[in-house]
């Protein structure tokens, strides 16, 4: 029941918000609803029990409305509900046209995202997966920046093309299930698909997730979309939507086509590591701060994909830890980007500089976030990335070497960007800017606190995902015994 509540609170808030006209009221209600949802999620986390909710709605064509969770889903739900209050808060005291519609769409996105992470049925998963895209499309189209008409359409079509392939795979799996066909994940994971089929089926299923993450070479929608998106839109995209791809792969691909995973393992890792280096180098060459952060996000996500496919326990734990850590860090980073633009009116690095002189507190907080992003020890980023690189090392030292470049190159471009924004001579045009205010502290301090606390005390997250990560590990272990058949 509590699952249904967590799913429905944002949905009903979304409808309820449309009644109001006053932007401040709308934001307050949205914030209250997200905080309530966060509290409910935390009770779920601390109760330590599993809860399921299933109604067999209309069980034709394999559909059933069943919600549930395991450690991985709970982690994702926690991340979603943890970030949304900050995403809402980021909009306070800003000029937003038609605020009630904007926040209704944001809440609808939240509901759909939670649905994705809770669904225990593949069709339900698919419906929520697509549903999360629709409000986001409108958030980007109506509140986006320059060039949004074409960029949003590209983003939408690109991700949808992947999803439709997923739909094909889903129906293919559905008709393979024995007896009275079903699309429950549990039924899918019991399928014994022949190795030859798994090899092509892997890509049919994986491309949707690869696009969402995005993994090299399916990333081309991402930089322009991030750059154009409004602050809140990009926070949802980078903070949570990217994790949808990772979650989908863990849920959909590993249990269903394990032989396919093992067969393509090295291909995917190499592609991801190319993505790491590629994105880092491009990030270094960017002159736009938002674009730079967009590419940095891609570099980190690419490392996560590589870690996902090395299939060992360290890497998997590191990956799941990094899901939280990256989500929190990237949201904080994009908030900083927004602050910079709001204060100076530009995001072009050559035009920026010397902000520290007028906004010292902002400089300190940005430094903390940047350090978290480049995975300095004692920040959450370090724990995740260290484990992932340790996992990569078990596969091959070369993989670890290439993966380790995220940290090094990350430090290069992030610190370089920090230098060009905060340090140096003050641009005379910025003589009148002020330091950050109360709202900014409210957004940034908790996020930074999470980054630091998890950096020192990461155990709670590991406890949360321990069982699921272990079972996934066993699954692939037993599959690898079958692998010689495929070759």
């Amino acid at each position: 029941m509590i699952l249904l509540l967590i799913l429905l609170i944002p949905l009903f808030t979304s409808l309820f918000l449309l009644v109001f006209r006053n932007a401040a009221t709308v934001r307050t209600i949205a914030l209250a609803s997200t905080i309530l949802n966060l509290v409910l999620t935390l009770t779920l986390v601390f109760s330590g029990q599993t809860a399921n909710y299933a109604v067999s709605w209309s069980n034709v064509i394999g559909f059933s409305f069943s919600l549930g969770y395991d450690g991985i889903s709970l982690l994702m739900i926690l991340l979603t509900n943890l970030l949304f209050p900050f995403i809402i808060l980021a909009g306070f005291n800003t000029e937003q046209k038609r605020a009630e519609v904007l926040y209704a769409l944001i809440m609808l996105t939240q509901s759909a995202l939670i649905g994705v992470f809770m669904a225990q049925n593949a069709v339900l998963f698919y419906i929520f997966w697509e549903l999360s895209l629709i409000p986001l499309y409108f958030i980007l189209l109506l509140w986006g920046g320059e060039g949004r008409r074409n960029i949003t359409l590209k983003f939408f079509i690109y991700t949808l093309a992947g999803s439709l392939l997923l739909l094909f795979g889903l129906i293919y799996l559905y008709q393979l299930t024995p007896g009275n066909h079903s699309t429950d994940f549990s039924a899918f994971s019991q399928l014994n698909i022949p190795g030859g089929t798994q090899i092509w089926l892997f890509w049919v299923l994986f491309i949707a997730f690869a696009i969402k993450m995005p993994m090299f070479p399916f990333h081309t929608w991402q930089p322009s979309t991030y750059t154009m998106a409004s602050t809140q839109g990009v926070m949802i995209l980078a903070g949570i939507m990217t994790k949808m791809g990772i979650y989908g792969a863990l849920r959909f691909i590993f249990p269903v086509v394990p032989l396919g995973v093992l067969y393509w393992q090295n291909t995917v890792i190499v592609l991801s590591l190319i993505g790491v280096i590629y994105a880092s180098v491009i990030a270094f060459r960017q002159t736009n701060l938002k674009r730079l952060v967009a590419f940095s996000s891609m570099a980190h996500i690419s490392l996560m994909v590589a870690a996902m496919f090395v299939l060992n326990y360290y890497a998997l734990q590191g990956l799941l830890f990094q899901v939280i850590s990256h989500g929190v860090t990237i949201v904080a980073l994009f908030y900083m980007v927004y602050l910079t633009e709001q204060k100076t009116g530009t995001l072009e690095l050559p035009a920026l500089g010397g902000l520290k002189l007028k906004a010292p507190n902002m400089a300190i907080l940005l430094l903390l976030v940047v350090l978290g992003s480049i995975a300095l020890p004692l920040t959450a980023g370090f724990v995740g990335e260290f484990l992932m690189i340790a996992g990569l090392f078990q596969q091959s030292a070369w993989f670890a070497a290439a993966g380790g470049l995220t940290m090094i190159l990350g430090a290069v471009y992030m610190l370089y960007a920090y230098q060009r924004v905060m340090l140096g001579d003050q641009n005379p045009a910025f003589a009148t800017i002020t330091d950050i205010g109360i709202k900014d502290y409210l957004v940034l301090l908790p996020l930074i606190a999470i980054i630091l606390v998890l950096g020192v005390f990461p155990q709670p997250v590991f406890n949360l995902v321990e069982i699921s990560a272990g079972s996934m590990q066993n699954l692939l272990h037993s599959a690898s015994a079958l692998l010689p058949i495929v070759y």
Partner: protein
Amino acid sequence: MSALILSTVLGIILLYLGLTKQKGILAPVAIAGLLGTLYLTVSEWGLGAAYFHDMIVFDNFSIAFNATMIIITILIFLFGIDYYKMMELHVAEQYALMIFALVGAFLMTSFSNLIMLFLGIEILSIPLYVLAGGKKASYRSNEASFKYFMLGSFATTIFLFGIALVYGASATFYLPEIKAYIAQFNGNLPPMLLVGLLFIVIGVAFKVAVAPFHFWSPDVYEGSPTLITAFMATVVKTAGFAAFYRLLTIGLVPMPVPLEKALWVMTGLSLLIGNLAALRQLNFKRLFAYSSIAHSGFIMLAMLSQNQNTAGVLLYYTFVYSLATIPMFIIFILVKRESNGQESLTAFRGLYKERPWIAVSAAVLLMSLAGIPPMAGFMAKYQVFVLSISKGFLFISLFAILMAVVGVYYYFFVVREIFTEGEHPKPIIVTSLNAALIIVCALAVIGLGIAGWNIPI
């Protein structure tokens, strides 16, 4: 049967009511009459009544399709109340002709004899030729009418020729007997019979605008009065596909291999031509014409993947398609009126700013047509793919899915225009009846997508 008689009488009554010069009473009478017809139709559910030496059989299949076509026609008439206010002349004839066309549609869903199919197609088509030319002063409308008439007659001739050839070979018009006759050849059909069957299929394919017999449809859709275009795109298409399905199931299954190949080619071409040509369209009606060809491709895919669910999927698909298409045409009429008759997609600009609820409904309807969950259009496409993938048609299914992506692309051209700022010369006027109907349709599309997907026929 009584439904058939009532609707014919209704058409004649409407013609006479036209003499009273009172436009106001036409729509209520027509709608009341159609509701009566709907009742009579549904009351025959499960009886399987056959008439005229089994030339027409009102089985559950035909009753279900007739009922949806009546509902769609009622919807069109409800929208017509506002539409025909602007029109001075011959309103009664318009209503009457649409009802006569509906009578033809009834025959097309319930035949079991090729002559009845021919009669049904003709009774459906001849009123449409007239209706397409409804705007007498418009050059485009005249062109549409003439083109439709010429090409339609041509298709009819081929169709008749096909019937003659089949009769020449099998000495019967009854489909079950033809089926038995085909079965005795074990797949090696004599050329005369095969050519005859192929010609019959071509005749029906022309009516439903399946590529490569689609060339009439963009021009006719564009030139006809928009309400008639909506009628053609929905009721006529539903009737055509019901007839097509009936022809295949009671006459031609298991299908002769050359015929099946021909049908697969038609499916692939419809998906390809419909979707790719729609990409380049700037005119809304042409866009919908091509997208309707693309939808024909999906329906063909379902039809060729026959199992016991196919009829239900077909019904669901056509109904959901109609339910989304009609309000879109109406919204188009509304924005076109206020942008000086401009028919390009840019006419939709500023709709969201002026009429947010209509704009949101339009977005829902377009998303349903594009097949995005949780709208009904997604469930329709999903079921089609379940049918085709379960039958093992993997490559054509993958191709269809790729084409569905293209479909999303051009439907979102329209969505994008709706949500783009723009100025209309005059404010968009939406009568409260129209607004209510549009919103109800949008809600129905969501509702049908979430629950109630399967009608066992």
